[in-house]
């Protein structure tokens, strides 16, 4: 693919992640941290996040299946998960986390379950989008990734 074309593609992909609310400002912070010493910093962080968060999700899932539900515990897990998701600026995921916590506080098990499913979906969607983005960025060449968007 033409270099310029790929770069444009990457730019567009990146922009849409923001426009569609998948990512927030934190992602930009990460991009700004990327430098020669850590040229793939953002991707590394995203990989680290997905590795840890997947495990957390499993833990939460197991906890949700237990009855009676321990809402305090679930809230605690989710609090941690939310903090973790804030590290890469996973906006939609964070929103679901917040919703989940609200349901926990209200003791709404059903609500928790539903929100959890939505959360998993968002988590997976973002992962796919980011993977595609990083791959494209690598193909397009370093310039693209080093680019400081607005």
């Amino acid at each position: 693919m033409d270099k310029n074309q790929s770069r444009r593609q990457v730019r567009l992909m990146r922009q849409s992640l923001f426009d569609q609310g998948f990512l927030d400002e934190q992602f930009i912070q990460l991009e700004e941290l990327q430098d020669d010493a850590n040229p793939n910093f953002v991707e590394e962080i995203a990989t680290s996040y997905y590795r840890d968060s997947s495990r957390s999700l499993q833990t939460i899932e197991l906890a949700l299946e237990k009855t009676p539900r321990d809402f305090n515990k679930l809230d605690g897990y989710m609090h941690q998960f939310k903090g973790s998701s804030s590290s890469i600026g996973a906006k939609k995921v964070k929103a679901e986390c917040q919703q989940f916590r609200e349901y926990c506080k209200a003791g709404n098990g059903e609500g928790c379950m539903r929100t959890f499913q939505a959360l998993k979906k968002e988590h997976a969607t973002l992962k796919k989008r980011l993977e595609a983005y990083f791959q494209m960025a690598r193909q397009a060449g370093p310039i693209e990734t080093a680019c400081r968007p607005k």
Partner: protein, 620 residues
């Protein structure tokens, strides 16, 4: 990090600022590290609170500021905050994704310099140096405000034995000195050079702290004020500001203990009380046998000297200190002949105890003073941690210097303790300790009380004790994570000390005398201690030493125990047992040792042991 020992980069400040970041989230840790590096700071990352405390203790003056997350698995961020404030007096910044006012308030109350919300911006981190600078200025002001020279001299003299801060004095004396040497050098340098940028902190030695606590008690906790305390203390070089800040910390500590106590008391306070008093006695007696002279002064009850247990002051204060000292003693004893080691540990413990004891003093209400014990626990915990470090050092020397200075002591303790513990049990069987063993079993379910109940666990009991040591199991289970107050009776193998103790019979010798004086309860304590050790070993070190976390978890447990312990302190008075020391979780572990001393327990004073003891103590 070694380079952090060197004097801070005064020339290019704030560049080179030595930051310790603590966060259980590895992703955030990476991000923060990168951010701080971009600010030209020297970053050290840490995933566990206990690990962080270890690092801080090892390298006194190795860091300028601590940035920590609030929610961590092994220890509450606020607790860490308190410890750091009390022990190292470094500025601490809290972080959290939760920005609720109440949380922020709590952070500030616990002494946080700042509270950042996640996600954290670079610019927020860029300015954290201001907290370091501010503190420095204040300290210099404090130093210069009073007869600093004299004070410095005093401090320096004191620092020979005492580490900057509350603990670690023992370290200096013992092999830990090798570690401390560097620190000492810096301390001396600091002290002598008031005007240096290095802040010269007032060393709240055991003696000093005891004076402080005494003054507080005299005045009456409600009416206390820095000026009054200062007047009563009659320490020329101390300033009102020093006292004020110390008082503030003390208060925080107490209130935290209080809270914990309240929570703990709901756990089964009666049991604890039973144990604690008994255990304390036992522990105290042990201590006495340990012959730790040092603490005598500070605690009065310390009596390590010789095997006579304490008849000295049961007063809680000393107990705490003693306990601590005791803890250290056992450790040192085995190897060296102990006296030398012990003093150090004692000292450290004492100082710790002092701190604790002061807390306990306020509480004096032994039984039922749950809050008190809590406090003690808290202080103990702090101390414990410090002890832990000290312990490790002490142990090292005691045992074979092969023990790595760092937290290996835990492990060592565990190992060593195991042996002694087992022995103790054996030893215990002799003394007329009645059912201590039973206690164990019973205790198991009780979070802390169970531990203490194990007093005389004859060899066979050891296994039993493992059960009762719920706290231990907690420890072991939580190797590194905080043990929740709900000690689950899943005591891990720890108690299977029997296995581990094979050769320690000697140390287990629980002093009969002790038991006699102390009453079975003490033996329980011992057992507890022993159990603790046993657990420790069997627990795979996870127990307490493995990570500071055991203590952390123990803290909770201990809290309860300590309360009991506090009571013990009181009881001790009756029995002249230095229980107050028992309250100290670390002491707890020590106590068994002490008790055993009579027996000749040479097992290292595993902090975990102490913890166990604490538990036991509290049970009373």
């Amino acid at each position: 990090m070694e380079s952090s020992f060197s004097s801070p980069r005064n020339d290019s400040f704030p560049a080179g600022l030595r930051v310790l970041v603590v966060d259980d989230d590895p992703t955030w840790l990476k991000i923060l590290e990168k951010m701080l590096k971009k600010c030209s700071y020297e970053v050290t990352t840490c995933g566990l609170a206990r690990e962080a405390l270890n690092l801080l203790r090892e390298k006194k003056d190795g860091y300028d500021i601590v940035v920590s997350d609030v929610n961590m698995p092994d220890m509450d961020g606020f607790k860490l905050l308190e410890h750091v404030g009390l022990e190292m007096d470094l500025p601490v910044i809290m972080m959290s994704v939760d920005g609720e006012t109440s949380r922020v308030m709590k952070g500030v109350q616990h002494g946080a310099c700042d509270y950042l919300l996640k996600p954290i911006r670079m610019k927020e981190l860029r300015n954290i140096w201001q907290h370091v600078f501010r503190k420095k200025i204040h300290e210099i002001r404090d130093i210069e405000s009073h007869e600093s020279i004299e004070g410095i001299q005093l401090i320096r003299n004191g620092s020979d034995q005492y580490d900057e801060g509350y603990f670690f004095s023992a370290e200096d004396l013992t092999s830990s000195r090798k570690r401390k040497d560097v620190d000492n050098k810096y301390d001396d340098k600091d002290f002598s050079d008031c005007s240096s940028t290095k802040k010269a902190r007032v060393v709240w030695s055991v003696d000093l702290h005891q004076k402080f606590v005494k003054a507080v008690h005299q005045i009456g906790f409600d009416k206390v004020g820095p000026k009054k305390i200062l007047d009563l203390m009659n320490v020329p070089w101390l300033t009102r500001e020093n006292v004020a800040s110390h008082l503030q910390k003390y208060r925080l500590y107490l209130s935290r203990l209080q809270k914990e106590n309240d929570i703990k008391s709901s756990f089964g306070g009666t049991k604890h009380s039973d144990y604690s008093s008994k255990d304390l006695q036992g522990i105290l007696s042990v201590q006495n046998s340990i012959n730790i002279q040092q603490n005598d002064v500070a605690h009065g009850s310390y009596r390590f000297s010789g095997n006579n247990l304490v008849a000295q002051n049961a007063d809680p204060k000393s107990n705490e200190g003693d306990i601590k000292g005791i803890v250290s003693e056992p450790v040192a004893e085995p190897k060296k002949g102990t006296t030398s080691n012990i003093p150090d540990s004692q000292k450290t413990r004492s100082s710790q105890m002092d701190f604790n004891s002061s807390y306990t003093e306020t509480k004096k209400g032994l039984v039922g003073n749950v809050p008190h014990s809590q406090k003690i626990r808290s202080s103990q915990m702090c101390v414990n941690h410090s002890f832990a470090s000290v312990e490790s050092e002490v142990n090292l020397t005691a045992f074979d210097s092969t023990i790595p200075a760092t937290y290996s002591w835990n492990q060592i303790q565990l190992e060593k303790e195991h042996k002694p513990l087992i022995q103790l049990n054996n030893g215990f069987s002799k003394p007329p300790l009645p059912g201590p063993q039973h206690h164990f079993q019973a205790d198991q379910l009780q979070s802390i009380p169970s531990i203490s109940s194990r007093p005389s666990i004859p060899g066979g009991d050891v296994t039993g004790s493992s059960k009762s040591k719920p706290s231990y199991s907690e420890y072991t289970n939580h190797h590194g994570s905080c043990v929740s107050p709900t000690i689950s009776p899943t005591i891990s193998p720890t108690i299977s000390a029997t296995d581990s103790f094979p050769g320690q019979t000697k140390s287990c010798v629980v002093d009969h005398q002790v038991s006699e004086t102390i009453s079975t309860s003490t033996s329980n304590m011992k057992n507890q201690g022993i159990n603790l050790s046993i657990d420790l070993e069997s627990a795979q070190r996870n127990l307490i030493l493995g990570s500071t976390s055991p203590f952390a978890s123990l803290d909770d447990e201990f809290q309860i125990c300590w309360y009991q312990g506090d009571c013990y302190g009181m009881n001790l008075e009756l029995q002249n047992i230095e229980f107050s020391e028992c309250t100290d979780p670390t002491h707890v572990t020590e106590v068994p040792a002490h008790l055993y001393d009579a027996l000749r327990f040479e097992y290292p004073c595993d902090p975990s042991e102490y913890c166990v003891l604490d538990q036991g103590l509290f049970i009373a």
